[in-house]
């Protein structure tokens, strides 16, 4: 039947389009490279969660000596967990050495799959469970630490005494970050008002934009938030002009150079390098990594284009130090 043929053609076309969106196929290498695959919930260019992992992997690949030493494959936009689970299983059965499930929503399915492939190292996050499996590493950022530092700066920079938080869903690092941020603000000035919204979605840019506009309409002059839909908030701040933004997960300064004060950036590279070294040393798993300011997994990156008063900078540095040496305790 004709309709069927056309439908199939369309389906194939869609798949091709999707496939083209993936990385170019890599030439076979003489020496057997380390094979690493990563599954991500959003795009590698999301200025947030997925991009942070992708940049780290690229960095590690470069340090190891390029594609001949480390083969890197990815599946992005896996916002549906069953699709992600299928991808994880595919990579594992294709003989990849390390499979990274980058999204707390994948952990349950990855746990099932890890049992079936004892020779593959599974790295998943953000979570603190390895289910006692010998071939699993888990990782989680202590986002609250970065949140605290930015909260301190935000409290000192708001003129209206009103700060807006535009969150996606109240779970994981988004929640921890917000909690840390609030503690930071309150440490400076308990009278500053914080308004919070959650959109219920990591990807609904339109609603996130509207949430940010709502905060601005209510009088907030400093905003923060996370997830790939945060670009909506950032753009709302940019359009308003005099609203400041504190970012999370990735350096968002290029999006709004006049508004982004600083960003808490996850640097997964040290963790990844440790995992690779441990695997090569015969330890395929069994550890939980927590990314902290102390060990460089978490960084607060300032945007040089926004003028930050010296005393604010100083307070931020003190906060970082305090957290690193344990004098400041932040709860997630």
């Amino acid at each position: 039947m004709k309709p069927r043929v056309l439908f199939v053609a369309l389906a194939i076309l869609s798949v091709l389009v999707a496939a083209c969106a993936g990385p170019a196929p890599q030439a076979s290498q003489p020496a057997k490279p380390l094979r690493v695959a990563v599954i991500m919930p959003s795009a590698t260019t999301d200025y947030a969660f997925s991009q942070s992992m992708w940049s780290a992997l690229k960095k590690v690949q470069e340090e190891m000596g390029g594609e001949s030493k480390m083969e890197l494959k990815y599946s992005e936009n896996m916002f549906k967990v069953p699709d992600a689970a299928a991808a994880i299983r595919d990579y594992a059965s294709q003989g990849f050495d390390i499979v990274i499930a980058h999204g707390s929503q994948y952990v349950a399915s990855a746990g099932e799959i890890a049992k079936d492939f004892p020779n593959v190292t599974f790295v998943w996050g953000t979570d603190v469970k390895t289910f006692d499996l010998p071939n699993v590493y888990a990782y989680t950022p202590a986002a609250e630490e970065g949140g605290y530092v930015q909260g301190v700066m935000a409290a000192m920079m708001t003129k209206n005494g009103l700060i807006g938080i535009t969150g996606p869903v109240e779970v994981g690092d988004a929640k921890a970050y917000v909690n840390g941020f609030e503690q930071g603000v309150k440490a400076v000035n308990p009278n500053i008002k914080i308004n919070k919204t959650w959109t219920g979605s990591f990807s609904d840019v339109a609603l996130m934009t509207e949430a940010a506009k709502t905060h601005i309409a209510a009088g907030a002059d400093v905003l923060t938030g996370s997830s790939q839909s945060a670009v909506g908030s950032i753009n709302a701040a940019k359009e308003k002009g005099d609203v400041l933004w504190f970012g999370l997960q990735s350096d968002q300064a290029p999006l709004a150079p006049k508004n982004v004060v600083s960003c808490v950036v996850y640097d997964w590279a040290p963790m990844l390098k440790e995992v690779i070294a441990a695997r090569q040393a015969g330890q395929p798993g069994g550890k939980v990594f927590v990314l902290r300011l102390k060990d460089g997994g978490l960084k607060v990156v300032m945007n040089p284009e926004v003028a930050v008063p010296a005393e604010v900078k100083k307070a931020a540095e003190e906060a970082v130090e305090g957290i690193q040496n344990g004098t400041i305790k932040v709860t997630p």
Partner: protein, 310 residues
Amino acid sequence: MDDILSVAALVGILTSAVRLATPYLYAAIGEAFGQLSGVVNLGVDGIMLVGAFMAIFVALGTGSLWLGVLVAIVAGLLMGLLMSVISVTLKAEQGISGIGLYMFGLGLSSLLFKVLFGTVKTIVGFQPVKIPILGDIPIIGPVLFQQSVLVYGAFLLVPLAWWILEKTTWGLRIKAVGQNPAAADSLGVNVNRVRYASVCLGSALAGLAGASLSLAMVNLFQENLTAGMGFIAVALVYFGSWRPAGILFGALLFSTVNALQLWMQVLGVKIPADAAVMLPYLLTIVVLALTVSRVRGPAALNRPFERGEA
């Protein structure tokens, strides 16, 4: 709690609601045209994505927002043509071809985004235009008459669509073809031509919906920017019983409650965020359940037309 009753909050909520309703209005009214003629197009979200991307891409490239809008409409039209060929001429199952079209749109917009943009790009979109005199009316002014051109367009589309459906011969044909294509055919109405036109018009409006999202609302593009808005638009068509006024009511209800729940969160009304987020959907279901619709949908929805079949 008192804050939410203040004039400022009210204006804020309603302004947000009108803005949020815009892409839904374009997309849902477009979808209604297709459905009234008997074709369900589930590819709206995909078309919106392509429209949203093409709009911002062309606008950034040429510096003309209007050219961006035009290209988005044309892109939507072309995707509508594809949908028509598959579901009208080749008579493929509409639900499946619509989902195919959605995936195609999602993939195509992502691919183009990667190749042509590589990263999230923002644009200075359509700015609010204050309408003289009307814009100065308290409350109503800022809510209805200090919006961007594309917002006005969406709201003007409602009476226009009603007028087309109720007052023109073309509207009469669309409804007849969707209810009883054999009857329309027996009176010399070219059933497939009417369906092509309706689906293409609907898809062009979906393209415009995408443009209104990327050029007048969020003013940026990101992969999967719509996050399923097109599917909500399809649901709104059913909610509104295939009538432009019903769709307007549904879109406004949905967006008002969405804006309201954001304000409630901002103003610290003590309800859990998860419950607040559910509110628009919950209310939509409640309204649907309460207004037991006596209006039946197009009888020939989802059924390709074959002459001579009893």
